[in-house]
Symmetry: C2
Subunit: 342 residues, 2 copies
DNA sequence: GTGAAAGCGCTAACAA
DNA sequence: TTGTTAGCGCTTTCAC
């Protein structure tokens, strides 16, 4: 809370231009009748002084605002920064401004930010969610402005959501592995409190196995966090040092985990993809450049953010015909981390 | 500009609690005397109704705000997103909110955003600059709130700046290459309208050569843009197809350029580092993972953003003792992309 | 301790 | 075509 040095007000301009504040307001907003002579005079004064009207006062008076709150778990990550760029792109094109809340992966603070946004009287909220708890839902429902989420599917709770078809993606990846001749496929997953990455991606893996007549084996799926070392840990669980009965391929539910897994494998002198194949999901920038280049699923995060923002803009304009649930397309990116088995 | 659905006002709370708006205001701000009985009653009503006071009205009345404008050329890039994370981290700790302007690499729009921020009556501005033109300077000077830049050095113009010691970093890198036995070192640079990356880094390269008694040769330095393909183009200029007289090492002024260069080299069956060594600058996330792992200079972007935000906060509190110019430390990251020559 | 009243910078009836 | 006036939701003297 810093005091703002006093700036010019509409009154000053009115005085300098020898007009009333309402007339100045009219030329400012291009509304109502103003004679050319007066308009010229006022415009000149505005130019000379560099006057910029306070949107704070304007917003208060007119009970409207053009600020959109954006909640992000970690702005300094590939996917999140792409999503924000996409959101920002459509929002600024429509002359909204973006208030950014970076929660640094502390879901608790998401609720705090929701409150801050409410005080700030933002006109809409965009949220990249990792987990939607009942408290989240309650707070979102108490919001009087539109909210659109991405990252998780909250459409069944009436919150418009933009999501990826995680399940189908994981299933196609599994399918691909099986077509390459793999029959024993390990999964490095995350907890299923994360419905999309934890739940759906795993479900897709199981579906892929099942539709190919392979029975999923419990111990071939391991779970952990989202970091590189979780990928390494996953490998150690899946590929024991003294055993010849380990998976020939591993599906890691994120690229980061896949890269952690590959590093660990190579550290242990296990060749990728010759000995063990690995696939990831997400197609982060590193994946195309890592050796071996990672076979993965590509999501267009920028477009995902843009789509969420578009839906929000529609809702803010009172147009609620837009889908409650938009599923973004994905693409398999076949690269070099999978070997064919006969 | 969306109309905000009407929410509770301080008047409603006053009525419900059978008190005056001033008393409610007092309990809201913990200022002035309020009897316990009345306070309890008011707090209860606030809790029951979930009332959140409008910061718009508060800001207007009290002529203060807690919004900081942040201008970024491209949020979806490694360095920028780290810097924003650092800024956001200190700003939110101090209860400021962040209004993000992603200019998508159109410097022209930086000026526009500066104006938007002025209308919004933000209490301070943080800017990640690529180029500071006279217009920029003029607009910044016309700002009545503190401005802190990073990425470029504007301290000589009275604008507090947080920068990297680009020159020393490039010089140490050049030194290192020479210590490894290289005598003919090429430079893949960028235009020197970018004073830091274009000007300073090149200056450091020349200094490094000179202090080691090597005369810089004009044709060993080439210039282009910031993209991967600019790195490739640089290589083709520096290492002609039919010549045995090409550099044994290349200093690329960014990691991205270095990676573009290495890819091109390897495409042309020139081994890195055996045939040609390559170093970059910046230590983006990919560099540690590329093969060969890139030797480069590491900057802590998160801390850079945090430092800029700290200075801004000090300035906003009226404390201008803080340095006009803060130079962030860097570290050489020796990895695998440089070979030793005898 | 508490409330009435003025006013922050702007917009929008309504008058003139 | 222009000016007067009454607020928007809050804070802050200043009386009581």
């Amino acid at each position: 809370m810093e005091s703002i040095p006093p700036s010019l007000t509409i009154k000053h301009i009115a005085q300098l231009a020898e007009a009333s504040t309402s007339t100045v307001s009219r030329v400012l907003n291009g509304s109502g009748y103003v004679s050319d002579a007066v308009r010229k005079r006022i415009e000149q004064v505005i130019l000379d002084t560099g006057y910029l009207p306070s949107s704070i006062a304007k917003d208060l008076k007119s009970q409207r605002s053009s600020m959109v709150g954006v909640i992000i778990p970690k702005i300094n990550s590939f996917a999140a920064s792409e999503i924000v760029a996409g959101m920002s792109s459509v929002l600024t094109a429509r002359h909204y401004s973006v208030v950014l809340a970076n929660t640094e992966n502390t879901p608790k603070s998401e609720l705090d930010y929701l409150h801050v946004f409410k005080r700030q009287r933002v006109c809409g909220i965009l949220m990249l969610a990792t987990e939607i708890t009942p408290e989240h839902l309650e707070t979102i429902r108490s919001m009087i402005v539109p909210v659109v989420v991405t990252g998780q599917d909250a459409s069944e709770h009436g919150v418009p959501s933009v999501i990826q078809d995680e399940r189908l993606a994981a299933r196609q990846l599994t399918d691909y592995l099986i077509r390459c001749g793999h029959r024993r496929i390990g999964l490095i997953g995350v907890g299923d409190w994360d419905k999309q990455v934890g739940g759906e991606r795993k479900a897709g893996y199981v579906e892929g196995l099942l539709t190919n007549g392979i029975a999923p084996v419990e111990s071939d799926a391991v779970y952990g966090g989202f970091e590189l070392h979780d990928g390494a840990t996953g490998v150690d669980k899946l590929v024991p040092y003294c055993s010849d009965q380990s998976p020939t391929a591993i599906l890691a539910v994120t690229d980061r985990l896949a890269i952690g897994a590959m590093s660990r494998l190579m550290e242990r002198k296990i060749k990728v993809p010759e000995d063990v194949s690995v696939v990831g999901m997400g197609d982060i920038d590193i994946s195309a450049v890592y050796r071996p280049k990672l076979t993965t699923v590509h999501y267009n995060y920028f477009n995902t953010g843009a789509a969420a923002a578009s839906i929000l803009v529609d809702r803010m304009h009172g147009d609620s015909r837009g889908a409650e649930r938009q599923v973004m397309p994905f693409e398999l990116r076949i690269r070099e981390s999978v070997a064919t088995r006969q």
